[in-house]
Amino acid sequence: MSNLTRGTVRDSLSVALTVGAYGTAFGAAGVAGGFSVLQTCLFSLLTFSGASQFAAVGVVTSGGAAASAIATAALLGTRNALYGLQMAPLLGVKGGRRLVAAQITIDESTGVALSQAPRGTRAMREGFWLTGTGVFLFWNLFTLLGALGAKALGNPASYGLDAAVPAAFLGLIWPRLQTNYLRMVAVVSMGFALLVTPWFPAGLPIIATTVVAVVMGWSAR
C-alpha cells in the first residue's frame, strides 16, 4: 500500500463503492425481467458492463427478441474496445493478466486511469487495476443483494421497479450530455425510437438508433 499514491487509492475506492452499489438496481431489474437469481448474477460476473447488462435485460423485459437483446448489449459494448485500445499500451500486460485486464476494461476503470495522468503513469496503472477490481467486487456483491431482494418483494410494478430501469438509463446518459449537440443527439434518438415503435418488432427500435449515431457522427462538426 505504501507504494500507492493515497489520492489514487481514495479515487479508485470511492468510484468502486458508488458504482458497485448500482449493482443493486441491476440485480432487481434482472429478477423483475424474469431472469433467475443465478442468471442475473452470472450477467454481472461474465458480462460485467452495466449499460450492456441493463440493455439485455431491458429488451427481454419489454418483450423483444433474444437477438435484439444480444445485439443491443453488444453494440453498447463496442466502446469498451476503444477503452482497451487506450489502456493496453499503458498496462503492458501479456497472457492471463491480459484477459483479466480486458474483463475489467469498463467506463470507470478507464475513467479513473485517465484522471490520474497528473500523478504519473504508475498512478494511472494502479488506478485502472484498483478501480476495475473494486467495481467488479462490489458490483457482483450488490447484484446478488438486489436479485435476492427483488425475489423476496414480488410484483415489480408494485415497487416501481419497472420505472427504475428507464430511470437508471436516464441517469447513465445524463452525465454524458455535456454539449447542446449531444443533448440534441439524445432527443433525436428518443424521437426516432418512438416513431418506429409501432412498425418494428419490440427491441429493434433501440438498435435502429445506431443509424442516428452513424448519420450524426459521419462528418466532423
Binding site: A25, I206, A213
Partner: protein, 106 residues
C-alpha cells in the same frame, strides 16, 4: 421467453461483450484510430441509452403506453435537474411510479 432462451441471452451477451473488451487489448492501435469511427462510436451509447429510456419507460411491446412509469421518469428527471446522486434518481423514480400504480389500482 423460455429459460433456455434466457440462458442464451446471458451467455451470448457475455461472450460478445468480452470479445469487444479483448479486441481493444489485442489489435494494433492504428486499426480503430479512424476519426469517423471514433465519432460514431462516441455517439452510439448516447443513442442506444436514450432509446432505452423511452423503450422501457413509454412502450409496452410495440405500443406507446403512458402509465405510472412516466410519472417515475418525471421524478427521475426532476432529481437529475436537482443534481441528485444516481441512487436518489433511481429510488425517487421507483417510489413515484409505485405510488401512481397503487393510486390507479385503488
Amino acid at each position: 421467453m423460455s429459460t433456455t432462451t434466457m440462458w442464451i441471452v446471458m451467455g451470448a451477451t457475455s461472450a460478445l461483450c468480452f470479445a469487444m473488451k479483448l479486441l481493444g487489448h489485442l489489435v494494433p492501435q492504428s486499426w480503430l484510430a479512424n476519426d469517423r469511427l471514433q465519432r460514431i462510436n462516441a455517439l452510439i451509447p448516447i443513442c442506444l441509452l436514450s432509446a432505452l429510456v423511452v423503450a422501457e419507460g413509454l412502450v409496452l411491446k410495440t405500443h406507446i403506453v403512458l402509465d405510472h412509469r412516466l410519472a417515475g421518469l418525471g421524478a427521475a428527471l426532476a432529481a437529475l435537474f436537482a443534481k441528485a446522486p444516481f441512487p436518489v434518481v433511481v429510488v425517487s423514480a421507483a417510489a413515484t411510479s409505485a405510488l401512481v400504480y397503487h393510486l390507479h389500482l385503488g
